[in-house]
Subunit: 219 residues, 2 copies
């Protein structure tokens, strides 16, 4: 019989996150923890970046999935390293799995690591992975009430991406309600409204991301 | 310092689920555990049923939310009893919270209880609430790969609702891929393709639900 003690799990996670963070700092590597609901567009955003940053930024992805290698296969087409973590029913990644995944990557030849967390707006918010910062993605078709209903992820995010703006005309999404709730939770968080289908708005996000990498490397 | 032992949590949940299930059987009450990603349309489906079943079925909702009473307020307009459980960051409902919520309802004067679980395709799959069965909702805008990527919920569901069919023309959703994956996981599960905006397809779901209630009451 397996006994898991939650407090010890959280303590161990925090300690390992500190180790991961120190390692990334030593290597001058930016690591972004990407969090969203299932199907909000995490993998689509990474597909865009895989193409847009090719030859400019040395990128890798740690891909977290409950089951299957579908997203990992989608990303491997772009030629950057992808490490897949299957959680086998687990609802979030933790810093231990990240520390193991990092061993599969050549950290001296990377600038940027994206961690695509399990599709879940709740649990990933509770687990520090040692990331440089969290990035939240939400899509217009999920409704304008997500920040207020799932506040932890939005409160802790360095930036928020509102994806699927191409579908806005067909939804009841109220932009003013969304913005008001989001800024009530995280007053000055940058928001990038974009579509990974029409590519409208993606360049502004790319510019911001390049600035983050440059700031991180020169810090 | 609080120590939580996961195995004990799961054992206690299973025991309390059995107690809840026995109570519902005694009262000849159907209880449906509604599970989906955030924003897939759980509350919208309940709004439709609140109107469609008024005067025909005595219905109540136990509303699970990480934070806020927004969905409970949406549902209270329809006049049926709504009991709100705020999980305060928790990622799923459990059978203990259901047993407490049931005390707030007049079980002798109800036919049907919907439990709207926390918006999450992972954790709610692991916790038996004592429900009669689980109902999974997924929306076209989340992509066709949700059954294969989050198999637990779809494997255990008595039926599946595919919502937001009105948005199909604007998405890359492949219906044959979705059906093939879904039936690979749960071969004979009934699927209801509908839109809670245009109301296309909702009557077939309502008929099926009424059959479930009648079967349950006469069992």
């Amino acid at each position: 019989m397996e006994i898991k003690v939650l407090q010890k799990v959280l303590d161990r996670n925090r300690d390992m996150a500190a180790t991961v963070r120190a390692k990334l700092k030593e290597k001058k590597l930016l690591m972004i923890n990407l969090i969203s609901s299932p199907g909000a567009g995490k993998t689509s955003l990474l597909e865009f970046l895989g193409e847009a940053l090719a030859g400019k930024v040395r990128m890798a992805v740690i891909e977290g999935d409950v089951a299957t290698d579908r997203d990992a296969i989608r990303l491997k087409r772009f030629g950057f390293p992808v490490v897949l973590i299957n959680t086998d029913g687990g609802c979030h990644l933790d810093s231990h799995s990240i520390s193991v995944a990092l061993k599969e990557l050549d950290l001296d030849n990377l600038d940027l690591i994206f961690v695509e967390n399990v599709g879940n707006l709740v649990c990933p918010a509770h687990f520090d992975l040692g990331e440089s910062f969290k990035l939240a993605i939400v899509s217009t078709t999920e409704g304008d009430d997500k920040p207020i209903k799932y506040p932890m992820v939005f409160r802790d995010a360095r930036a928020v991406v509102l994806n699927k703006t191409d579908l806005l005309p067909y939804t009841r999404f109220k932009r003013d309600v969304f913005l008001n709730d989001l800024h009530g939770i995280n007053p000055s968080v940058p928001l990038f409204e974009l579509s990974c289908v029409t590519m409208q708005g993606v360049e502004a996000f790319k510019s911001w991301l390049l600035d983050q990498i440059n700031e991180w490397i020169s810090a």
